[in-house]
């Protein structure tokens, strides 16, 4: 069995699966149950000055009958007194010395406040800190959470204050509600962060009730934007992790968060540069026991690939992620329809006909049977037909033998400008 242990900026954990700071990590009882179930670490529900919560807090989107494709909340940070949380953190750490407990923190943006909370939390023996610059609602209206997290200078300054007194590693949790997450990630590094984690939730309004015209969810007839998470946000989170991982000035470990529901998702985040992952929605949907398959599936995957330690996969796909300008313009694929598998729903035809390049023909063979065929010469290899096709293996996207040497847009532009300069030289 492969070694699943990770070391994230000095924080050791028996496996890469942590619970994210959220309702699953609200209390000692819950975190201890989670550790018993197999979770390697837990980021405690964000600590700070006491707040008040509203009733009716969550909503979810069902997609075509699948529940919880996305999840939304308007909950704030912990609503339990700080000393109760600290006592439970202490007890939990004592019972589970080998599991990672990270305290998530959010306070008003002043040096004293940060110094005070960091000291109090470290006194009870946590393995690390996570600064919550992410929550997009409520706290942000008071200048905390994403209100801080959207301004690089504020991220840098507050990270610096926390680092002034912190003895344990400091992770900075970033908000996705920003155009370029590398700007705040870099600011966190400037401020001395030992690691960054992403993503927190994305601004969202789940829906409007067609009968009452109320927002979903609503609190006594009024709604406010919430934070979106769950499977639907995974591609957004994965991109943000990948952008940070490949950024030359962001050189700290990444804790990946956002839509991770199983071991396969976790492997993707790790290949794209995450050292470990955090999970919230999937645990809220199914309970702590989902970690069992996460561990078993990851371990079997590594064994089957002959990889002895999970840390060996971290970042292995980062070099394959680049800018559009570095993609080969002379690489070509075309769709190929396997008529023995095709069930003749004609969805690929109409998708291509109406919305792509009109190159899937509906034909009839000599026995009067209809079949579909792609005109290779017109196919641009967009993938649309294979995406809408409802059966596995009916459409393959196949490589066309190369006619031209690889050439990217950037290379092409460079070559053209050289040519223009030459011409200029000649006319001189």
């Amino acid at each position: 069995m492969a070694d699943l242990r990770i070391n994230l900026a000095g924080i050791q954990s028996p496996n890469p699966f942590w619970l994210a700071s959220a309702p699953p990590t609200n209390s000692g009882y819950q975190v201890q149950r989670a550790f018993e179930a197999g979770w390697g670490g837990a980021v405690w529900k964000t600590l700070g000055d006491p707040i008040l919560n509203v009733s009716s807090r969550f909503a979810a989107s069902s997609f075509n009958g699948k529940r919880v494709a996305g999840f939304n909340n308007i909950e704030l940070i912990t609503d339990r007194p700080l000393d109760v949380n600290l006592k439970e953190i202490y007890e939990t750490k004592k019972k589970f010395p080998n599991h990672a407990i990270i305290a998530s923190l959010m306070v008003e943006p002043t040096q004293e406040k940060w110094h005070e909370i960091v000291k109090r939390v470290e006194d009870v023996g946590v393995d690390g800190l996570e600064l919550n610059f992410g929550c997009p609602h409520g706290m942000a209206e008071r200048g905390m959470g994403s209100a801080s997290g959207q301004v690089p200078a504020l991220v840098e300054r507050q990270t610096y204050w926390a680092k002034e007194v912190a003895k344990t590693p400091v992770i900075v949790k970033l908000t996705p509600n920003i155009t370029d997450i590398t700007a705040t990630a870099e600011a966190a590094c400037q401020g001395g962060a030992d690691a960054i984690s992403m993503i927190n939730t994305i601004n969202s309004l789940m829906g409007v009730d067609l009968d009452s015209w109320n927002t979903i969810p609503h609190v006594a007839g009024k709604g406010a934007h919430g934070g979106y998470c769950g499977p639907a946000v995974k591609p957004i989170a994965l991109n943000m992790v990948a952008e940070c991982a490949r950024h030359p000035r962001i050189n700290v470990p990444i804790s990946g968060i956002g839509g991770i529901s199983n071991w396969q998702d976790a492997v993707e985040f790790m290949l794209m540069g995450a050292t470990g992952v955090q999970v919230c929605t999937a645990a809220m949907h199914h309970g702590f026991r989902i970690v069992e398959d996460m561990i078993d599936g990851l371990s079997n995957y590594l064994d089957q690939k002959g990889i002895s330690s999970v840390s060996e996969i971290i970042g292995k796909s980062v070099s394959r992620f680049s800018d559009w300008g570095n993609l080969d313009l002379n690489y070509n694929i075309v769709a190929q329809i396997n008529n023995d598998v095709c069930i003749n729903c004609n969805k690929c035809h109409i998708a291509c006909e109406d919305t792509s390049h009109q190159c899937i023909d509906m034909l009839t063979d000599s026995s009067g049977k209809s079949y579909l065929k792609v005109r290779d010469e017109d196919c641009v290899g967009c993938n649309l037909c294979s995406i809408v096709c409802p059966v596995d293996g009916a459409i393959d996207m196949v490589e066309v033998p190369r006619e031209l040497a690889p050439m990217t847009w950037n290379e092409r532009q460079a070559a053209l400008s050289v040519a223009v300069e030459c011409q200029a030289d000649v006319t001189k």
């Binding site: 396969q264 199914h286 599936g297």
Partner: protein, 456 residues
């Protein structure tokens, strides 16, 4: 596509008739179905499985692409889980308990179980490792589901296990009794292989009581497990039973699983007597051997028949005819000593018997003759009384008496499980219960030696 079945019966190529009828789920079907499972907490399907397979977990593992983990989850609870996925009456067990019965359709648990175990078989996976040897020895008599299951668990707990098996291959009725078109032999052999890989010695072609004495076994081993199942089909007690063309259904099915198929039934008329699992298997086998007409005779009605609904359905689809309230009175032979007909008598249902079923009583003067070429007897199974008595065990008409839960016999060093302890009037025996009893026996044996008892 799974729904497209091969034409059911061919007279040209009998071998084809014995290929597995149900196709396995395609990858896409398995993906869709596994994602439909709710992953219930404290799930009722688990409780309805006699071996307690963690069904939501193995299904979740299929959904996440962890097929090795899924197969392990299944096989760790059920050492014959690949066979069970094919032969369990799932509507009565796991699938019958699925919560989705109340809202949509139950999850196809059996088919998903087959999908995961098929993957393990195709990818030649070894799922378990033997435990550290504890020096204790156990003899298992009978290598059917009950014996294999006990041996597998004991080997994992570090016991040195020897299985004594009368037949030339282990697997019991999974190997020789359940028809190939529902359970191909290679599935049973894979399960036997998994047990062998735990260093269990399997001595085939060894009849205990004949090739090795009962005393030798009790002397040589710390514990003995009797898992010999049931024996042959009893006599009907009518005239003509010794004629050529009269068969024991279990032997009859076994012949279709042991080498060349007989060509002797092509175009023939067959009657099968009885209406349990075995009768159905005898009848569908006859059809698949090319018989022109196959009738099942049963002295009670459709209501009392013990075969499962899906078996009944299957037999009807195969073209088997049913003659209810009909009992055999005499088998008629020709001058060459071969069956040529069977005299039957019509029955009616009388008073209720102690088991609640109404007693069939003959209608005087209703006799008639059905011309037939073969008669297959499937009216239950006799017991291994002689062997049970040789071990000196208490029994009730050949059903070994055991202590509830531990399956300990009247001799404290000897345990018994599977069909050998299956009492009468309890419906049909099942592979999955035999498997669970095998596990229970293993844990009971282990518990004797580890009183503080960390079992499993």
């Amino acid at each position: 596509m799974a729904s497209e079945k091969i034409p059911r019966i061919s007279l040209m190529d009998l071998e084809m008739n014995f290929l597995e009828v149900e196709q396995g789920l395609t990858n896409q079907e398995a993906m869709e179905e596994s994602n439909r499972c709710l992953y219930c907490y404290d799930a009722p399907c688990i409780k309805a499985c006699p071996t307690g397979i963690d069904i939501p977990t193995f299904i979740k593992k299929i959904a996440s692409g962890n097929l090795l983990g899924s197969a392990k989850t299944i096989m760790s609870s059920n050492p014959v889980g690949a066979s069970c996925s094919r032969v369990c009456p799932t509507e009565e067990l796991c699938e019958g308990a699925c919560v989705l019965n109340h809202s949509t359709n139950p999850i196809m648990i059996g088919n998903l179980q087959r999908y995961a175990t098929d993957w393990a078989i195709q990818n030649e996976q070894t799922l378990f490792q033997p435990g550290v040897s504890n020096g204790r020895t156990v003899a298992v008599i009978g290598g059917g589901p009950a014996g294999l299951s006990a041996a597998r668990e004991l080997a994992r707990l570090g016991y040195e296990v020897t299985i004594f098996e009368a037949a030339d291959k282990a697997g019991g009725l999974n190997t020789f009794g359940i028809v190939s078109f529902r359970l191909p032999q290679k599935i049973s052999f894979w399960e036997v292989e998994q047990v062998k890989k735990l260093n269990v010695t399997i001595r085939t072609n060894t009849v205990v009581g004949r090739d090795i004495s009962v005393d030798k076994i009790t002397e040589d081993f710390d514990n003995v497990i009797l898992a010999v199942g049931m024996a042959h089909v009893p006599n009907l007690g009518v005239e003509g039973e010794e004629l050529k063309g009269v068969y024991d259904a279990i032997e009859f099915v076994k012949a279709t699983k042991s080498g060349q198929l007989s060509q002797d039934f092509v175009g023939k008329r067959v009657v099968v007597i009885g209406a349990g699992n075995t009768a159905i298997d005898g009848a569908t086998c006859s059809i698949r051997l090319g018989a022109e007409n196959v009738k099942i005779l049963y002295r009670r009605t459709e209501e009392e028949m013990t075969a499962y609904d899906f078996e009944y359905e299957f037999a009807k689809q195969d073209g088997v005819e049913f003659r209810w309230l009909t009992a055999p009175k005499r088998i008629i032979g020709n001058s060459l000593g071969h069956v040529m007909g069977i005299e039957c008598i019509k029955m009616k249902l009388g008073e209720a018997e102690p088991d609640g079923r109404r007693r069939p009583v003959p209608i005087e003067g209703s006799e008639y003759v059905i011309p037939v070429d073969a008669v297959v007897k499937a009216i239950g199974q006799t017991r291994h009384k002689e062997l049970i008595e040789a071990f000196g065990l208490q029994h009730n008409g050949g059903v070994v008496t055991v202590e509830l839960g531990t399956f300990r016999t009247s001799n404290p060093a000897i345990f018994a499980c599977g069909d050998v302890v299956f009492g009468k009037g309890k419906g049909d025996a099942m592979v999955v219960t035999a498997a669970q009893q095998g596990k229970d026996v293993a844990y009971a044996i282990h518990k004797q030696y580890s009183p503080v008892g960390v079992v499993n």
